[in-house]
Amino acid sequence: MGYVEQGTGRDALFGRLETAETPEELQQLIELLRDHYSVDHIVYHWVNSNGDQYGCGTYPKAWVSRYLERGYLRIDPVVQGCYQRFHPVDWKRLDWSGKAARNFQRDAVEHGIGNQGYSIPIRGPNGQFAMFSLSSNCSDEDWDTFTEEHRRDLILVAHYFNQKALELEPGRKPEPSQALSPREVEALTLLGVGYSRAQAAETLSISEHTLRVYIESARFKLGAMNTTHAVARALSRGLIVI
């Protein structure tokens, strides 16, 4: 059971991410996400400790082959600045002062990658490391406004994208999906039947802050962008009953 989410609005796209079953669907989704956020490019890309890579995204083919051919992985300040870390990075903050980095940047701009970028590093299981990057051609002010406004969404979508990519990776055993704890089930159930946060917190004898953290955790385990979404998913998976 479940419901099919249609369309290209934010919630519909996240719904489709949850139900995606093939790498082709991921590629299609990353293109739709690019259009939805009105950026020039989005790229998802992971590396493992052997240096193997996998990715999908909207970069022109010419740029991808040039990147590999020139060995830009070793020069790219974005990769250097994100690898094995976990804070989101505005490309402007990186060190582009070296000659190699400046040439790389010029080449990237010439290939239409954009002069602005934002990357979210992701720590996956067993040393897996992934990056979700958006780039565009615009002013510093516009980019700051964009990243500020969408940062929360982008961080979540980056992580959900990674979970899905891992799930679809050939030969990988599915990670056991984290069950919700009884406390998370209770919290979602109360919100699902229409309690306010304050009422739910009082019923569970916890602070509202604690409730928000439990709900945030449950949302992540359910791959949901917001609480309504989390309740709907928990219901459709039979995790809660209202």
């Binding site: 989101p88 505005d90 903050r93 992701i122 940062r151 406390r183 604690t210 945030e216 955790s217 992540f220």
Partner: protein, 212 residues
């Protein structure tokens, strides 16, 4: 001053790193009597130091450690999910918007402003990186200090007695709390931002503002 250093870069700050791990041994093994592992050089480390955490460290003018804390994303391996789920109502706290803060440590001669400066730096990390909550594991007696600084955690649970009392708590950092902590630290917001930029880079707009 505050430094933000990933574990993999600690080798660039050998004196600071060594004194941090020694102060941790002093606080957690000697003063609190926790069962932590201290190596032959007198340095305390645990499994989570191997996860490339981000350390927030107060560096004293002589280059040694004055206080620090350790941050990790809760989507990876964390102390609270590995060892303290019984103190969080059985909830594994996992979200890219929640980071774990552990090993909050002050050197013996730390001035009162250092704890506040660390909290302020933690707040800067939240603001800049979209972190909405910290879940922390700490010496329960720190609660008094946190309250005095102006940033009290919500305690989820605690166990043990006396100096071995360990608590798990949550922080968020409102603009109001930030202001209060800045006042008790006696640190101008501009300085906090400069320390942050030293570690994570500045944006051209910020550089212009500084130059103006």
């Amino acid at each position: 001053m505050i430094r933000y250093i990933y574990a993999e870069d600690l080798n660039k700050f050998p004196m600071l790193a060594r004194s941090m791990f020694r102060d941790r041994a002093d606080q957690f093994a000697t003063r609190l009597g926790w069962e932590v592992s201290v190596d032959e050089r007198g340095e305390e480390r645990d499994d989570y130091d191997r996860e490339n955490p981000l350390y927030v460290i107060w560096e004293k003018p002589d280059g040694t450690h004055g206080g620090s804390m350790r941050l990790l994303p809760t989507v990876g391996k964390t102390m609270v999910n590995d060892h303290f789920v019984h103190l969080t109502d059985g909830v594994r706290i996992e979200s890219p918007l929640i980071w774990e803060c552990t090993r909050f440590c002050l050197s013996r001669d730390a001035t009162p402003g250092i704890a506040a400066a660390l909290m302020l730096a933690g707040g800067e990390v939240m603001r800049q990186f979209g972190v909405e909550h910290y879940v922390g594991v700490f010496d329960a007696r720190m609660v008094r200090i946190y309250r005095r600084i102006g940033s009290s955690p919500d305690i989820l649970g605690q166990e043990g007695q006396g100096r071995e009392m360990i608590a798990v708590g949550l922080w968020e950092f409102t603009a109001e709390a930030q202001k209060k902590v800045a006042e008790s630290a006696g640190i101008a917001p501009k300085l906090t931002r400069q320390w942050f930029e030293m570690a994570f880079g500045a944006t051209p707009a910020e550089v212009d503002v500084e130059a103006a």
